[in-house]
């Protein structure tokens, strides 16, 4: 294969990414531009960007690899990732948008009024983000190595440098555009080859034996009930606890638009997963020799040149590697943006400069880990992150939104129990191997019981604690009250306008300000004023 084409494709993606990043830099004017794209992003672009950062190396390369390697079990991962957004939609999307928080620690801090809870959440967010970035860098190393024979470390370092550079330069605003572009690139990079495969394979009837290629015991009938259920529960709930999901809702103007954005996201990622799964099915029929651990994840990259000879195959390979690169870059940049926000607000004063340094720091750590470790299956590595997020953060976030008796101590206890039990099980599982006997499945797939343990601990400690934060009613009313429709909002907005203009001036200068001030004028006035307005009218009528 001609190594020049893939390298040209890689260079093209990097150039386009930096051009959009630089264009974004020119319009990133204020601190809130850097953090949340100033809430002027259209739903379709916002949804593209969310999908662009959600679809990672795990599903771009890893899904087809695992379908090839282990069979239809692999499909549970994308099903769980897509259904995870359904739970995000039902339980957190609109309330979190209305909360005025940029990051999960912001939300926990605001809801529970506890600095300790905030710091613990920050640490967990960092751990989750880093665990998630490592497989992306592994994927980059693997992909560039296979396609262009570039040494593995070069691929990982390239992605890390581009990500930290573009995040530091442009912040969220430019990242939104970059990731919107990357979603469509990823989608095309798998959909176009799939169309070509279908035409090629359709022309000469495949001489495959279904019972050999798709044996029943590798199919849905071979599933293990506990393992599947535990994995699905963790994947479903894990999405809620991912650090880069929450910040995206803040770029939607209202809670309702956050919901519709989520619906569009679900449609987009579902379409992508179907295409990526198709690559896996085709791989089972045409490339059984690649079904080995470590190699299977490269099947999406190797199929085009195998199935379609000549220049067309080379061009398709270049397209796939461009999409793969977009997958590594998209997810890593989204994560680095949220981790940098967290680090810069918790360790430094939250300025643009500290955000830039935090971007470098938060990429450097997973890069070192990625260089020091051997890649495992990409889709299972990403799945593990979901299990940890679901155990450590999701119960507390959901209870924080829906349960008024949650206290800071309850949340801290729940986060500690969930994260300690889950990481303990995940570490013990490979150490003990099959020696664990009947507990082996419980350790390998701990989600079902660690999530339950975290939730029960949170509830019990909160009930014993009784020191509910003073602002509970205020926060909950803000989280759940719908925004006024445009026409009626205008009247109350006029009254708030003077305050808001002042607030925006403050909002531009410090990271701590835009959330509290602009969110106050937008969120609280919406929730509170409806009633005040009504009460004033009633009283004057009386």
């Amino acid at each position: 294969m001609n190594p020049l084409l893939p390298i040209a494709a890689i260079a093209l993606v990097l150039v386009v990414t930096s051009v959009i990043g630089v264009y974004g830099l020119r319009i990133s004017r204020t601190t809130s531009d850097f953090f949340v794209a100033s809430r002027t992003v259209r739903p379709i672009w916002n949804a593209s960007a969310i999908s662009g950062e959600y679809l990672s190396a795990g599903t771009f390369l890893g899904l087809s690899g695992l379908v090839l390697l282990s069979g239809s079990d692999a499909f549970w991962f994308p099903i769980g990732y897509a259904a995870g957004y359904l739970l995000v939609l039902m339980f957190v999307a609109a309330p979190l948008r209305r909360s005025g928080a940029y990051t999960i620690p912001d939300f926990i801090h605001a809801r529970l009024d506890s600095v300790v809870a905030r710091r613990i959440t920050s640490v967990l967010v960092l751990v989750i983000g880093w665990l998630y970035i490592v497989p992306q860098l592994h994927g980059a190393a693997l992909a560039l190595n296979v396609v262009a024979d570039i040494p593995p470390w070069v691929g990982a370092v390239t992605v890390a440098v581009v990500v930290s550079g573009s995040v530091a330069a442009g912040g969220m605003r430019s990242i939104t555009f970059v990731q919107g572009f990357q979603f469509w690139l990823k989608f095309a990079a798998l959909a176009v080859p799939v169309v070509f495969f279908a035409i090629t394979l359709g022309a000469h009837e495949p001489a495959i034996d279904p019972s050999l290629v798709f044996p029943p015991e590798r199919g849905p009938s071979g599933l293990d009930t506990y393992t599947t259920a535990s994995l699905l529960v963790a994947l479903l709930l894990g999405t809620i606890g991912l650090p880069h999901v929450l910040v995206r809702f803040y770029t939607s103007p209202t809670g309702s638009s956050a919901r519709w954005t989520t619906v569009i996201v679900i449609v987009m990622i579902s379409a992508f997963y179907m295409v990526s799964g198709t690559v896996g099915l085709i791989a089972r029929a045409t490339a059984p020799d690649l079904a080995q651990p470590g190699i299977a994840d490269t099947v999406a990259l190797l199929l085009p040149s195998r199935l379609i000879p000549g220049m067309a195959g080379d061009l398709l390979t270049a397209l796939v590697i461009a999409g793969a690169l977009a997958a590594f870059l998209g997810t890593s940049s989204g994560l680095v943006v949220s981790l940098s926000s967290t680090v810069s607000q918790d360790l430094f004063r939250g300025t643009v400069r500290s955000f830039r340094w935090a971007a470098v720091f938060t990429t450097a750590v997973p890069l070192v880990v990625a260089l020091a470790t051997v890649p495992q299956g990409l889709v299972t590595s990403v799945g593990t992150v979901f299990v940890f997020a679901a155990s450590a953060l999701s119960p507390v976030i959901v209870l924080g939104i829906w349960w008024r008796r949650l206290t800071a101590r309850g949340a801290i206890a729940g986060m500690l129990v969930g994260s300690v039990l889950c990481s303990g099980a995940l570490f013990a599982s490979p150490l003990l191997g099959t020696g664990a006997g009947p507990a082996a499945a419980l350790l390998a797939q701990p989600g079902a019981w660690t999530i339950a343990a975290a939730a029960i601990t949170t509830i019990v400690v909160s009930l014993l604690d009784r020191r509910a934060p003073l602002n509970t009613e205020r926060m909950l009313s803000r989280l759940h009250s719908p925004e006024l429709p445009r026409g009626r909002a205008a009247a109350s907005a006029d009254r708030a306008a003077a305050t808001r203009r002042g607030a925006d001036a403050v909002a531009d200068q410090r990271v701590s300000s835009p959330v509290s001030t602009s969110a106050t004028s937008a969120g609280v006035s919406r929730s509170g004023r409806a009633i005040h307005h009504v009460m004033a009218l009633t009283m004057s009528a009386a």
């Binding site: 939609l89 798709f214 579902s270 004063r349 509170g528 009504v534």
Partner: protein, 139 residues
């Protein structure tokens, strides 16, 4: 507000893109830089009226019930489909383009369910919010 010491400049530049928008004014804080220790969403009125608490509570309960009903029915739908594709071996004899039906259903069949539930939930949640708003306005 959280920044009483901040130097304010008014009128501030409108941050939306408009032709002829005023140039950006740089505003600086006189606060001592420090890591965040103040909750950020503290702003707002210190007291929430009883009416509002009631309003929020019932809205929350309605929305929570709605979400739970949808989650439970979604899980039931998933369990049902999974039971069908894993528990009926004769399905395996049916195949399209060489791929057995259970494999195809697992690869493609769950996403339409997820999408239908997402759209239905969003419509229902918006209807609840509209109803509550109407209730408050007619009171």
């Amino acid at each position: 507000m959280s920044d009483p010491d901040a130097t304010r400049t008014a009128p501030a530049a409108d941050r939306r893109h408009r032709p002829g928008r005023p140039a950006r004014e740089r505003v600086t804080s006189v606060d001592r830089p420090a890591p965040r220790t103040e909750p950020l969403a503290r702003a707002g009125r210190a007291h929430v009226s009883e009416a509002e608490t009631l309003f929020t509570r019932s809205l929350m309960r309605a929305q929570g019930r709605l979400a739970l009903v949808f989650v439970v029915s979604f899980v039931l739908a998933v369990v049902l489909v999974t039971f069908v594709i894993s528990g009926i071996p004769s399905l395996h004899d049916q195949s399209i383009a060489g791929v057995p039906l259970p494999w195809l259903i697992q690869a493609y069949g769950y996403y339409p369910i997820i999408i239908v539930f997402a759209v239905a939930y969003t419509v229902a949640a918006m209807r609840t919010e509209r109803r509550f708003r109407a209730l408050v306005e007619h009171e």
